[in-house]
């Protein structure tokens, strides 16, 4: 984020929308604000995440419905550093969410006054560094998609989309969780409990304080000692199973 002096003079932004014409409208409106620099225009979520990481804009104009990643997911992946103005045509859910979390938004098509209002409002956010309601909005969007169908992982400027049925198991590592999928590993900053709540409970079982298992990968359970089991996966991996983990796993076997 810019320091206070430079922010008072200029503002940098990115326009993210999969429709060329929709980007053009925003560009036209921004032409009246010479102090606002357009760092990049992106036609999909992947590009947006990459560009936002490299360019660090103060403000994002973000469409909701886009290929690969929707607007909420883009925001989730780039973190809530930038101020954001959502731009959408019609989405009952999104409108309600914007109102609840007091996030700036523009409804397509919009007029110049409405654009000026949203920009002025977003500028305040950008200057004060307030994250606004965005984090709550992101969390709500994830909850709405429960059970989670795919995991979004940012790896530097790259984005991985991991469908949940490709996950073998998930391991806790301090503040991170590590997704193991077919010999590959993906790290993401997330709490185990939060993740567990979002995943399909009939399929992903917390077998241990540090492990969530995709039960479809389980080959068998081996008794080590009294009340102590080891889960053996189809690929031979062995995972510890706690006593509560065994109680959760048992009804599914």
């Amino acid at each position: 984020m810019n320091d206070k002096d430079s922010a008072a003079e200029g503002l940098s932004c990115m326009i993210v929308d999969d429709e060329d014409l929709a980007r053009r409208v925003i560009r036209e409106h921004l032409a009246r604000y010479p102090e606002v620099a357009i760092l990049a225009e992106c036609a999909n979520g992947f590009e947006a995440v990459k560009a936002a990481n490299e360019l660090g804009p103060d403000l994002l104009f973000l469409d909701i419905q886009m290929p690969k990643l929707n607007g909420f997911e883009v925001l989730e992946l780039i973190g809530a550093d930038a101020a954001v103005i959502f731009v959408t045509a019609y989405d009952e859910y999104a409108l309600r969410a914007f109102e609840v979390h007091a996030v700036d938004y523009l409804l397509k098509p919009f007029n110049a006054e409405r654009f000026d209002q949203a920009l002025a409002h977003a500028r305040l956010h950008a200057r004060s560094g307030l994250p606004g309601g965005a984090p709550a909005l992101i969390a709500e969007n994830r909850k709405r998609q429960r059970p989670l169908q795919r995991i979004l992982i940012r790896d530097g400027a790259r984005v991985h989309v991991l469908p949940v049925d490709k996950i073998d198991y998930i391991q806790a590592q301090d503040d991170y969780v590590c997704f193991k999928s077919g010999g590959k590993e993906y790290l993401k900053q997330e709490a185990m409990a939060e993740l567990e709540a979002l995943l399909d409970a009939g399929r992903f079982i917390r077998i241990h304080r540090s492990y969530i298992l995709n039960v479809e990968r389980l080959s068998r359970l081996q008794l080590l000692a009294k009340d102590s089991y080891v889960a053996i996966l189809a690929d031979g991996t062995q995972l510890p199973v706690s006593r509560t983990g065994y109680a959760r796993l048992k009804p599914l076997l």
């Binding site: 429709e19 060329d20 290929p67 019609y90």
Partner: protein, 368 residues
């Protein structure tokens, strides 16, 4: 009022059904008693006709105590009591008839000899009443089944009408607002294209409203409508949306229910091509294959895309409308493989002159 009393032809039939009973009773009276044939017949016919009316009371009983809702024991006592009562009345009536007859010279002394027949008449009276009760229960259950069937049919028709109304009103607001936004974007930069887009939208809306009011439209009209929709989406999505039409000339006059193809095309754009960064090509095929019309739509899709809200409702509606229109004479197959979404429908090929095309033997010819 009893349905038999309400209609004269039913009453005639009902009374005619009692004639053999009168014959049977006459035979019994002759062989078990000391009655002559003329005496037996003269007594039996009026007594039986009066009893026929008496037995109609069973209808009220059967309605008041339907089978299955009344306990067996309860039913037994009700009908036993009713049978004893009606049979007593019937014996009483036949005594009246006998007394009346004895005043006439040929039947002198009938009322004295009649007395021996009381147990027989009483027993027959009970059995006859029970027979009528059984027939009433049978007719009631037939009537009930028919009513239920008619009601089910009526609700189905109503639901279908409501659904159609809903479909007509259903123009995706997201599509509409995106479209208006495209027009708003074009007004400054390219007014000519903005106007063309307005006209395209107007044509599409007008056509989808007017076609929806008809029961059947030609495939040509349906394809034109889908084409108008696609032309608008092409302005919005630019080069990401390509269209590949492979439509056989002879398929065009075939009749289809309105708005059958358009939702499929919309589905393919919204959940398929619009979700791809580089877009893709939407293929529409239509062919006449013997007596059948075959239509297929194919598009690439992103298997990793987030599951969309309400996905599949449009397809389900199309399937339901096809099967409610043609019953088992239609198919709709969906196939997803290698990131390609393929949907095909097959239905009987009718044209406007009302004739079903080609030989009926061809109806067995299904999609490969």
């Amino acid at each position: 009022m009893h349905p038999i009393l309400a209609q004269r032809k039913y009453l005639g039939l009902y009374l005619a059904a009692w004639l053999p009973v009168a014959g049977l009773i006459s035979v019994l009276l002759v062989f078990s008693g000391r009655l002559s044939w003329p005496e037996a017949v003269a007594l039996a016919i009026p007594a039986v006709v009066l009893n026929a009316f008496l037995c109609l009371a069973a209808w009220y009983l059967c309605r008041a105590f339907p089978l299955g809702k009344t306990g067996i024991l309860h039913l037994f006592f009700i009908h036993a009591a009713a049978a004893l009562l009606t049979s007593s009345l019937w014996v009483f009536i036949s005594r009246g008839v006998a007394a009346a007859l004895s005043s006439a010279p040929p039947f002198a002394g009938l009322s004295e000899r009649w007395g021996d027949q009381v147990p027989l008449l009483y027993g027959v009276g009970i059995l006859l009443f029970w027979l009528v009760v059984a027939v009433h229960y049978l007719l009631n259950s037939f009537e009930g089944a028919r009513r239920a069937e008619r009601r089910a049919l009526e609700t189905q028709i109503l639901a279908r009408e409501a659904e159609l109304k809903l479909l007509r009103a259903q123009i995706d607001p997201h599509f509409l607002f995106n479209c208006l936004n495209s027009i708003s974007a074009l007004t400054a930069a390219d007014p000519g294209r903005a106007r063309r887009m307005c006209l395209l939208l107007a044509d599409f809306l007008r056509m989808s409203l007017s076609l929806g009011n008809r029961e059947f439209i030609t495939l040509e009209e349906e394809i034109t409508l889908a084409g108008q929709f696609l032309a608008i989406e092409q302005v919005r999505l630019g080069p990401r949306l390509m269209i590949d039409r492979r439509i056989q000339e002879t398929a065009l006059p075939c009749l289809v229910p309105p708005l059958i193809l358009q939702p499929l095309v919309e589905n393919s754009v919204r959940h398929g091509i619009a979700q791809l960064i580089d877009g893709g090509s939407l293929r529409i095929e239509a062919e006449r294959r013997g007596g059948r019309l075959w239509v297929a739509i194919e598009n690439p899709f992103d298997p990793d895309a987030a599951p969309a809200d309400g996905k599949g409702i449009g397809l389900k509606n199309v399937r339901r409308r096809l099967s409610s229109q043609f019953g088992a004479d239609t198919r709709m197959d969906i196939e997803k493989s290698n990131n390609i979404f393929h949907i095909e429908i097959s239905l009987p090929a009718h044209t406007k002159d009302g004739k079903r095309q080609d030989a009926p033997g061809n109806h067995q010819e299904e999609n490969p």
